[in-house]
């Protein structure tokens, strides 16, 4: 039995800057395994150990996603092996194109009982790849999951919904996206990093995956988005009570005090 974790190797958006023409510059941003995907890998490790299953990481991206520094970072978190679909055309790929590439790998792997994903990617945060993947595979999609149990061909989960904690049982296989706190992660140690260098890595191009990727449209314009114009009033805080009174007066004048 295999458990797959879909993960993204992505630049940290904290470091992104935007030029006046709306072009994003990620060149100074350090790439890492997306925060929440690390949660999925850790959770998958525990589940795979309990089930005696192999834990396979699947990632989709540009050339950076297949570099040893990228695959090692993911393997060191506990994966047994990784398969990366890496192609310049997949750099910045949208949810549907990404899900199509993951689905192709999952189908080829076979014997997959569960695909785990993180809550969202840290750079885009569309939260749609797992749902499209489930659609492509024809498997149930269960999101916002805190706890997963695999037994007798079924997947049982506890998930956070707006009303409370919902328990669901579905026929396996399924696609499950976890909450950001399903399990605590820890930074890989030196031993994990050394072991990661010896684990198997398979790299496929878009052509290898046999995929005719969806068209993602043509970019016709970019712009920098300025939020609403702000007043930018600096209130002197040398006297805290006077500063507080000044703010209260300003808010009262604006008619926003309840």
């Amino acid at each position: 039995m295999r458990i797959v974790v879909a993960y993204k190797y992505a630049p940290d958006p904290q470091e992104a800057t935007v030029a006046s023409d709306g072009t994003l510059d990620f060149s100074r941003a350090k790439a890492i395994v997306s925060d929440y995907d690390a949660v999925a890998i850790e959770y998958g490790r525990q589940l795979a150990d309990a089930q005696g299953a192999a834990l396979v990481g699947v990632s989709v991206g540009g050339e950076a996603a297949a570099k040893p520094v990228a695959t090692k970072a993911a393997l060191a978190r506990g994966l047994d092996e990784v398969v990366v679909v890496s192609d310049p055309e997949l750099d910045g790929a949208g949810s549907t194109r990404t899900a199509q590439a993951i689905a192709a790998v999952v189908k080829e792997l076979g014997d997959v009982e569960l695909v785990l994903a993180g809550d969202s990617s840290m750079d885009v945060g569309a939260r749609m790849v797992p749902s499209v993947l489930a659609g492509l595979l024809g498997w149930p999609m269960l999101s916002d999951v805190e706890k997963v149990t695999l037994a007798d061909g079924s997947v049982s989960v506890e998930r956070l919904v707006s009303e409370g904690v919902q328990s669901i049982t579905a026929a396996a296989p399924a696609v499950v996206s976890l909450t950001s706190e399903a399990v605590k992660t820890k930074a890989p140690g030196m031993k994990d990093l050394l072991a990661a260098g010896k684990k198997p890595v398979a790299v496929k191009s878009l052509a290898d995956s046999g995929l005719v990727a969806v068209s993602e449209g043509t970019v016709t314009a970019r712009a920098k988005l300025d939020g609403p114009a702000r007043k930018g009033v600096v209130i002197d805080t040398s006297d805290p009570a006077a500063a507080a009174a000044e703010l209260v007066n300003a808010l009262r004048a604006a008619g926003v005090l309840g």
Binding site: S131, V132, G135, L247
Partner: protein
């Protein structure tokens, strides 16, 4: 060609119907839900309902393939809200009709969508030859009153069964409808100090919010109160940010506020450039002063 709005167990899709009505062709709501949901969705702007049935003890997600089949028979632009079941249905549709997914749309026209990217600091316009699958805020519930035709369609839902629901012990926070939100970030030194922030929120008649690390890492504040790109996205009348530096992810959750007030020790923090009123200084003296001034 029809334009579709997916309804996943609740009628809160008014914004989506309004956006769909601006495109060509009839607006078709594909509904998984109880009778009352169908009656509510039969509202002005919705030309036709395709009803896949009441899920009963199945999860709405069980109907994903059925919903996809309805749209795939006559593919068109598809809208769905941001909730989990809505995303699951939309994902299945995008898979079935090979449509790209668009999130955070700013402007939607025939064959062209402008969306916000990177947490709302930039926008990108793309033209599309085929249908797209759009995720956006659902909006207020529809309340019926339309001359909408209802067609019942056969469904063969997957085995996805809800076996239990343990209601929340504390009522879920609803930051989205609050007029005033006081939000706290890493500038707070200890969990005990939350008391002064809560006192300010009470005096200000505001809901309490926070930045991501305060909810997810420190666990000081419930997760449903975290404001940011993957958390709550809110547009209150006043957003009072205390000890929050204002990174991209956070600001994309509160940029819609009418007024932003920041209390921060760093006069060069990113939030300062996005504030209407700026109080630079120690929150431990400014917050109690503000609470007193409001009291």
């Amino acid at each position: 060609m029809s334009t579709y709005v997916l309804v996943a167990g609740n009628a809160g899709v008014s914004e989506l119907v309004a956006a769909a009505a601006k495109l060509d062709g009839p607006v078709v709501a594909v509904v998984v839900g109880a009778d009352e949901v169908v009656r509510a969705v039969a509202a002005p702007g919705v030309d036709k309902i395709v009803w896949l049935g009441d899920p009963g003890d199945r999860a709405v997600e069980a109907f994903a393939a059925d919903v996809a089949k309805v749209v795939a028979a006559d593919p068109g632009v598809v809208f769905a809200g941001r909730k989990p079941a809505e995303r699951a249905l939309l994902g299945a549709v995008a898979a079935a009709i090979s449509a790209p997914v668009v999130t955070m749309p700013v402007e939607i026209a025939a064959g062209q969508v402008t969306r916000a990217i990177a947490g709302g600091i930039a926008s990108e316009t793309r033209s599309y030859a085929g249908p797209v699958a759009i995720v956006s805020d659902g909006g207020a519930p529809l309340t019926g009153g339309g001359s909408t035709s209802v067609e019942q369609a056969a469904a063969s839902p997957a085995e996805v069964t809800v076996t239990d629901l343990r209601p929340n012990e504390v009522a879920a926070a609803d930051l989205g409808t609050a007029d005033r939100v006081v939000s706290v970030g890493r500038g707070l030194k200890a969990k005990e100090d939350l008391a002064i922030i809560e006192a300010l929120a009470t005096a200000f008649k505001a809901e309490l919010g926070c930045s991501r690390p305060v909810a997810e890492g420190l666990d000081w504040v419930a997760r449903d109160r975290y404001v940011g790109i993957s958390g709550q996205q809110i547009s209150p009348q006043v957003y009072l940010a205390v000890g929050i530096s204002g990174q991209l992810q956070h600001m994309s959750g509160c940029r819609g506020a009418q007024l932003i007030v920041s209390i921060n020790t760093d006069k060069d923090a990113p939030i300062v450039a996005e504030s209407d009123y700026i109080l630079t200084g120690d929150l431990y003296t400014l917050v109690p002063a503000l609470t007193a001034a409001l009291g």
